[in-house]
């Protein structure tokens, strides 16, 4: 009984812990209840139309009105569609061949070719499953009655789906590189948040501050060793990805390592900033968890990013992990080069400078 009462009194004192106990269920409920949707809709799609007849227009219109597709590039060139797919700005490229309608009417079974970005197989699969029905409906509503084999319209078109970047739709290809970002986020934020808070908790900060050491020296001193730790983790995961999980590596490893640097620094910046707020190591761990949870759920690691409502996507876009996942999947699975990943690196760099600036502003040279 004495211990119970004491525990409640201490809980009351440590308001941050209390807030976490109340806050985490709320955040979880919101994220899992509203933000996460494993059946993503309105996936951006490019159409390479070689026909321009009423039937092809009907197909495009049907896709557009369906919940699964949003035609973001209604009349793309072959090259532009490919480029968009590689950059990840579209999920699908639908190719309608020339003389599509002509062949269709003649019963020659024209080929509709769909190139799907399968780096995240779960994001694409539901939409693809609905595709034949949608095409049938479009054909039936326009010229269905004039077709020779009226009863079997689906046989009138041959649908060829190509799972680009991950032909076997193997989800480990998606998860293993993503895991690298997740692990870096969790360990690096925590380790730096703890490293600074420990100095304060053990009283060694007072000593450190009484020396002429500059804030810049303290901060870099706290960051550099953990950059190294981060790269050791990267090395471990990449080795495992290659030898254990057989994940192909299409892009440049050097580009990956360079981009990873920015990402590692961004996470260390968050850790440093947390350490200026946390009064003890427990609080530092709790803050890390508070940052890690949305990173895990909103970044597109566990659930397809495009399946989330807009507010959740906006929130996710702030987090460095969201962009890093695209960069690393792009480089490893799609063979992306610097121009492809640069747009995703900008938000990470912005996040990095913001977090470092906040950390530096909050860093006190006195004990005030």
């Amino acid at each position: 009984m004495a211990v119970i009462l004491k525990e409640f009194t201490q809980m009351k004192r440590d308001r941050l812990t209390f807030a976490m106990l109340a806050g985490i269920p709320v955040v979880q409920l919101i994220l899992f209840g509203f933000a996460i949707n494993s059946d993503p809709k309105h996936l951006p799609t490019a159409v390479v139309n070689g026909d321009h007849g009423p039937v092809s227009r009907a197909i495009i219109a049907t896709l557009q009105t369906s919940a699964y597709y949003t035609i973001s590039m209604p009349d793309a060139s072959e090259a532009a569609a490919k480029e968009a797919l590689r950059k990840g700005s579209v999920q699908f490229a639908v190719h309608i061949p020339p003389q599509f309608e002509h062949d269709l009417v003649k019963g020659l079974r024209p080929v509709v070719f769909v190139n799907a970005d399968a780096t995240d197989p779960s994001a694409a699969s539901n939409a693809l499953a609905h595709l034949p029905t949608l095409i049938d409906r479009a054909i039936a509503s326009t010229i269905g009655r004039t077709l020779p084999q009226t009863n079997h319209p689906q046989a009138s078109v041959e649908l060829r789906i190509h799972s680009a970047f991950n032909p076997e739709m193997d989800s480990t290809f998606n998860i293993v590189p993503g895991l690298m970002g997740v692990i870096l986020t969790m360990t690096l934020v925590m380790i730096t948040a703890l490293a600074m808070t420990r100095e304060r908790e053990r009283g060694t900060m007072e000593n450190l501050l009484s020396t002429p050491v500059r804030p810049f020296e303290v901060l870099t001193g706290k960051i550099v060793p953990y950059v190294l730790v981060g790269y050791i983790q990267v090395g471990l995961i990449l080795t495992a990805a290659h030898w254990v999980f057989d994940v192909p590596f299409l892009g440049s490893p050097w580009l990956l390592l360079a981009c990873t640097m920015v990402f590692i620094l961004a996470n260390l910046g968050v850790g440093i900033t947390f350490s200026t707020f946390a009064r003890n190591q427990l609080q530092a761990v709790q803050m890390t968890f508070f940052f890690f949870l949305p990173s895990l759920l909103l970044s597109g690691f566990m659930f397809p990013f495009r399946g989330m409502p807009e507010w959740a996507q906006a929130l996710g876009s702030v987090l460095p992990l969201t962009h890093y996942l695209r960069v690393i999947r792009g480089i490893i699975l799609k063979g992306n080069t610097w121009p492809d990943v640069a747009p995703e690196m900008i938000p990470i760099a912005v996040f990095l400078s913001m977090s470092l600036m906040l950390g530096l502003l909050r860093y006190r040279q006195t004990l005030d």
């Binding site: 009283g203 060694t204 900060m205 007072e206 000593n207 501050l209 009484s210 002429p212 050491v213 006195t366």
Partner: protein, 323 residues
Amino acid sequence: MNPSSPNTPLVIDVKGVTKRFGKKTVVDHIDMSIQQGTVFGFLGPNGSGKTTFIRMLCGLLEPNEGSGTCLGYDILKERRMIKQHVGYMTQRFSYYEDLTVRENLDFVARVYGVPDRKIAVDQSLQSIGLRGRENQLAGTLSGGWKQRLALAACMLHKPRLLLLDEPTAGVDPKARREFWDEIHALARAGMTILVTTHYMDEAERCHQLAYIAYGKLLAQGQKDFLIQNSGLHTFRITGPDLPQWANDLRDKTGVDQAVMFGSSLHLSGIDREKLEATILKHMKGTHQWEPKATSLEEVFIQLMSQSEDNFSTGSEAQNSHPE
């Protein structure tokens, strides 16, 4: 050796230094000047503002009011220069417990950019007698050894001013004596030392003393000056039933302090006549009494109880011992 020549440069010279935490004034307009080569004792009850004042001197806290210099550097604007030349030993052991003795000293030497680091660290280990323990983790050292390590570490960069915050708390008498011999040796060599303590024997070894309570400086000067200035008179009583006597006399007119010291009772008061009258009135045939020199402890207890009175009545103007 007490450097009392007026030409000796001032190492600490501050005026009106004030620190508030929220609404609470922890250090209240303190003026202090300390000459080079002085061992300056800084006394006062727990929570009186000693540590806060020291932290402001060495640039760890920013004063809300006041100005002055430390080692000739402005305490507000030249904190970094002050830090370079001051050795500060914190009240709580604040080196890295998960580093060895040598690693700790090595780290400190690097931070201050000590030239010939390895030699400096070796010499430091030698001088504190930690040569055999250099590879022991600092966390596993006993209290006395930790205190030696801390002192060695804060002197590694050859500071001109040492600020020691209760350096001997929890240290045994022999180690304390050795520590103070070392302090005086350093002072002879020209170093200035500001040290806080609760021990009266240590206070008596200081050249100069200051007494602070509730953030206010109540008295400052040499030991004899403080005793004389307190206006206290003390008598030693011997005989039977002294503990009972002590209790009875504590509230009587003229008696400001009644304290048992072993088998004798010490009575102190500011008004000598009233005190003597009270003693004579209560004395029985078997009791003996004689005047005794007032000690520092009585002076400080007097200062403390007066400042308590001032605070409880709110009449700070009644402070009868401003210097």
